[in-house]
């Protein structure tokens, strides 16, 4: 009797540990998460427009059909990334996610306050390697630190009514994301 009770108590305690470990491990081992779903469609360090969500084809659940969406799957291994997004007439936003879908930063056209949203994305190590005097010029360049070397940039443009979807898509077609070249770095000096 006592033995059975001990086994049950030990099982429950061990079950709690299994639960905590599996919850923490799930984002790492998930194969149907957003990053895994987008990986076959989106080229690395380039902008890819997504097809609009329909009832039959939903790339990811709970997508807002009022938006044209483009993604850039990034890998900062080749160096910092330069992101340029022209602002549409309605509303444009840029959201940054790690490969495990942590939304670590998001900005919209109004908070960017310009006709074009221009951002540099780099790892913290790459940010530290920037020459110090560049920090001064960085005041008018937005530098985002990515907590992980890989992740997703999601660019969205609003189509306030279905008829404006073509216009929103055209705005996104002009958005670029690419590895910074040496000339970019030279230009900034």
């Amino acid at each position: 009797m006592m033995r059975t009770l001990a086994v049950i108590v030990a099982g429950i305690v061990l079950g709690g540990i299994v639960h905590l470990v599996s919850v923490l491990a799930l984002p790492r081992i998930a194969t149907q998460d957003a990053y895994s779903r987008l990986a076959p469609l989106a080229a690395v360090n380039a902008m890819t427009q997504l097809d609009p969500a329909t009832p039959e084809t939903t790339l990811m659940p709970f997508m807002d059909p009022a938006f044209a969406v483009a993604v850039c799957r990034y890998d900062l291994g080749a160096g910092p990334l330069k992101l340029t997004v022209p602002v549409s007439q309605a509303y444009t936003s840029v959201s940054f996610y790690t490969a495990e879908e942590i939304a670590y930063y998001a900005i919209n056209d109004r908070s960017a306050g310009r006709k074009t949203i221009e951002l540099d994305l780099m790892t913290e190590a790459q940010h530290e390697d920037l020459p110090k005097d560049e920090e001064v010029t960085a005041a008018d360049r937005l530098i985002i630190d990515s907590p992980s070397p890989t992740g997703l940039i999601v660019v969205k443009a609003l189509a306030a009514e279905p008829g404006l979807m073509a216009q929103a898509k055209a705005t996104l077609a002009a958005a670029t994301c690419r590895v910074q070249s040496a000339t970019d770095a030279a230009k900034r000096k």
Binding site: V13, H19, P55, Y104
Partner: protein, 189 residues
């Protein structure tokens, strides 16, 4: 006996993980009337349960700098939303640059209908003289702002606010965040 203990541990641990990742837990959930939101899921300080749920479902949470999403699967009286009934969502909305109202099935897909209308944006919706609005969710055409439910049994309404202070620390209740009500006004008997 040892085998039984491990079986128990595995069952409890993985069962609890599956439950919490599928249904979600109420940590950091804001409930205003029938509307539920997890603004924390759009920040770096997302909790492990929300991360597990996001990894499992495959969705990309809205970054808080972009917007905040409220979901409702019940009406203001606690009745599950039924696509065979007439449901009216009406009232006022908290401050935001714009909002979108979208129907999803329980898996997060858009709700199919012959009109290919999946939602309204705040710019499309027709309003009363006092600025309030009412959208009717019904299987058959209704006057005014009509969202077709396609007659499905259960659905979820997503109300998303963009470029908004909603989701911050002052989002707690109906008084600081006036959410529209959801009323089931008629069901075929």
């Amino acid at each position: 006996m040892t085998l039984m203990m491990f079986a128990l541990a595995g069952g409890i641990g993985l069962g609890a993980t599956w439950m919490t990742a599928t249904r979600g837990v109420d940590i950091a959930t804001v409930a205003i009337g029938p509307w539920l939101a997890r603004p924390q899921a759009g920040t770096r300080s997302v909790d492990p349960y929300a991360r597990a749920a996001i990894a499992r479902s495959g969705e990309l949470p809205l970054g808080i700098g972009d917007g905040v999403a409220f979901l409702a699967s019940k009406d203001s009286d606690g009745r599950p939303l039924d696509g065979r009934c007439d449901v009216v969502i009406g009232g006022t909305t908290p401050a935001a640059r714009f909002w979108t109202l979208t129907l999803h099935d329980l898996a997060g897909r858009l709700v199919a209908n012959t009109l290919e209308r999946y939602g309204f944006t705040s710019q499309e919706v027709v309003r009363g003289a006092d600025g309030s609005f009412a959208v009717t969710l019904a299987p058959r055409a209704r006057a005014g702002n009509w969202l077709p439910t396609g007659g499905i049994e259960r659905y979820v309404v997503a109300l998303r606010f963009y470029d908004t202070p909603v989701g911050g620390v002052s989002t707690r209740n109906q008084r600081d965040t006036p959410m529209p009500s959801i009323k089931t006004v008629g069901c075929p008997s």
